[in-house]
């Protein structure tokens, strides 16, 4: 298999460009996506190649340009909306909830909204509270949308392509700290499934469910755990809505212990929903209560030390597994 090496943001760009090449209706809208090339360089060079209308630099009006993308999608285009930081999409909540999620239903199925809404989110390096948000927990209740989170160059490209090809509105969560991850990915074209989870490390003792950046904290903890004699099974759930209950269920049935490690806040996060879903579906297979490690319910502080204590660190993951497996 022929491979080539690239960084995660380049993988996203590759996926995006391939889809734009394939289908002229695919277009990009967002702040600084055009001439600036995107705040994280995901759209670098695309405006030069495809023009200012196809890679549209918008004014700073999230709600309106997201709504505009929805109107364009209803009338036959396939727009990708970039939130310069996912947090900015709080401004677009009206459009994302009411129009993106609901219009297919309220129109009785007449109009489809094949938009992709993507951008960087999560806790970075001292970016301050407002630039460190995890919008997946706020958006998860909206009926009619799908949410995926990428974590490697390989799944970033595959999920980008899948999201663009989907007839459903998809929100693709990228993470500010993962854009420079390097990996060798196939030359040959591939598209991943939006609904499937990814087995990162098979194991026997405990199921660790995670996504996005926390995957790396989990894998770091896994190294320590293996040295201590544990055998964790690590699954990157990737699909935040809907959950891949097959992959997750099979794992629970095998290990009987579940640890969820996420970056959302404790209250109302993806972990909270996942805990409920697993309890409902696989209660009989659990040997102990599900443990969910989430970020603290605080606005992310600026100070480095405080910020570190806000998110889950590998040492906590190790401790939680040791506790679970007692």
């Amino acid at each position: 298999m022929l491979l080539h090496e690239l960084l995660l943001f380049e993988a996203l760009q590759e996926g995006l460009e391939e889809e734009m090449e394939r289908d002229p209706r695919v277009c990009v809208m967002g702040e600084d996506v055009g001439h600036y090339g995107g705040s994280y360089k995901v759209t670098k060079g695309l405006a030069t190649k495809y023009g200012d209308l196809r890679v549209l630099d918008t004014p700073i009006a999230e709600n309106s340009f997201t709504g505009m993308a929805i109107g364009a999608a209803m009338t036959g285009l396939r727009p990708i909306v970039e939130g310069m930081n996912m947090g900015f999409l709080l401004l677009a909540f009206n459009q994302i909830s009411n129009n993106c999620g609901m219009l297919h239903y309220t129109s009785g199925g007449q109009f489809t909204i094949p938009v992709v809404i993507r951008g960087p989110g999560g806790v970075g390096r001292q970016l301050g509270a407002e630039h460190s948000q995890r919008l997946e927990s706020y958006f998860q209740s909206i009926p009619g949308i799908q949410m995926v989170a990428c974590s490697t160059p390989y799944n970033a490209k595959g999920l980008m392509k899948a999201a663009i090809r989907s007839e459903n509105p998809v929100i693709l969560f990228e993470h500010v700290l993962l854009y420079n991850l390097k990996e060798r990915i196939p030359d040959e074209e591939y598209v991943l499934s939006l609904e499937e989870a990814e087995m990162v490390r098979p194991g026997e003792h405990v199921t660790i469910l995670t996504y996005s950046r926390m995957r790396y904290h989990v894998m770091q903890a896994a190294k320590t755990l293996v040295n201590k004699g544990y055998d964790p099974e690590v699954i990157d759930i990737r699909s935040l809505k809907p959950f891949d209950l097959h992959t997750i269920g099979n794992s629970v049935k095998k290990t009987h212990r579940v640890l969820i490690v996420e970056e959302c806040m404790r209250t109302g996060g993806i972990g909270a929903s996942l805990t409920a879903a697993i309890s409902e579906n696989f209660h009989d297979y659990l040997d102990s209560p599900i443990v969910c490690l989430s970020s603290q319910d605080v606005p992310t502080p600026y100070a480095g030390t405080l910020e570190e204590w806000t998110v889950v660190q590998p040492a906590q993951i190790v401790a939680a597994v040791e506790q679970l497996c007692r």
Partner: protein
Amino acid sequence: MSSAFSAIRIIQPLPLNTTTTRSPEKPLFDPLKTTSSFLGSTARFCSTSLNKPSSASHLRRSAVVAVSDVVKDKKLNSNSSLSNLLLTKEEGLEVYQDMILGRAFEDMCAQMYYRGKMFGFVHLYNGQEAVSTGFINLLKKEDSVVSTYRDHVHALSKGVPARAVMSELFGKVTGCCRGQGGSMHMFSKEHNVLGGFAFIGEGIPVATGAAFSSKYRREVLKQADCDHVTVAFFGDGTCNNGQFFECLNMAALWKLPIVFVVENNLWAIGMSHLRATSDPEIWKKGPAFGMPGVHVDGMDVLKVREVAKEAIGRARRGEGPSLVECETYRFRGHSLADPDELRDPAEKAHYAARDPITALKKYMIENKLANEAELKAIEKKIDEVVEDAVEFADASPHPGRTQLLENVFADPKGFGIGPDGKYRCEDPKFTEGTAQV
């Protein structure tokens, strides 16, 4: 574009100091507004508009005339031919029929609501028919219309069958949205009605997007003949909302083929436009963003039509957006649940006297475009259409359980993979609507 920045003469509304709602003695009048030319304006709507265009001069080629002025003109000039008139007989009958349909349909809605056939929030359009007909009658099928919750008549004018709208209101499967949308969410892919929105302002970006699509098709997809226009309807209350301004900016910036139509009926539920808006002259806000802004008498379908021709023509030629403020009035309350106690009876009477349907009827008869019998025949025909719509809706079935989960996703794989490894939507219980999701 430079003329957009020059002073634009507006058609003044009828002398405001004759309406008691705006006089200083009434509590609803805000004394701080006395300096605005919109309020208490002494400029009279006069027949000089026959000679001088009274709105954005670059926008129109023919003078917009008051219905009464044309009548006056007609009387003076008994030898004038029908070609002096603003519309032909066929057009007149079509316009009349469309307005009668809007009125009769909405009246029937009120009846049906109080008889318990439809529920929730129902917002009727009585009195504003000139705006819907004036604009939509000029559109092609491929053009798009975006509205608000006061959308029944926009859907009807655009060509959605009365049966489909009435069924939707009754919540039946035969409704245009399968009963899933309701009064505030009228959609039609076939007729390019892009909604029907419950939150004010949220439809304007969607309309901007439809206009963007049109431009994209022409310039990126190279469909040279794509000249589809989008018309966005919304009210005075919406004009204080951020999405309005954000979209005026984007539409002008990219010269999108869109017409922003403000149906200024002076009231947002119980909030008077004058109490909510620092500068109540909405048409002025167009030039601030680089597009023409026009004020027109929204109770006169002929005037609205003339302005609409210009605005739609502008958009179709790729010259960009326009903002048209139609001064209009809703004869009923905000919705069927609104007791409508705040509006001054004198104000209501003033606008009731300017009923657009009565005005058109008078114009057609006085200019010998039609006689009483022909117009009565139209009214009778429409009564039958509306009765038929009710019968059809009554006889249609309610949605079954199986419909509950359909249409949540265009691709039902979005419901995900179940514990058994199969996609949820492959579960036979899914179509029964009894599956757990």
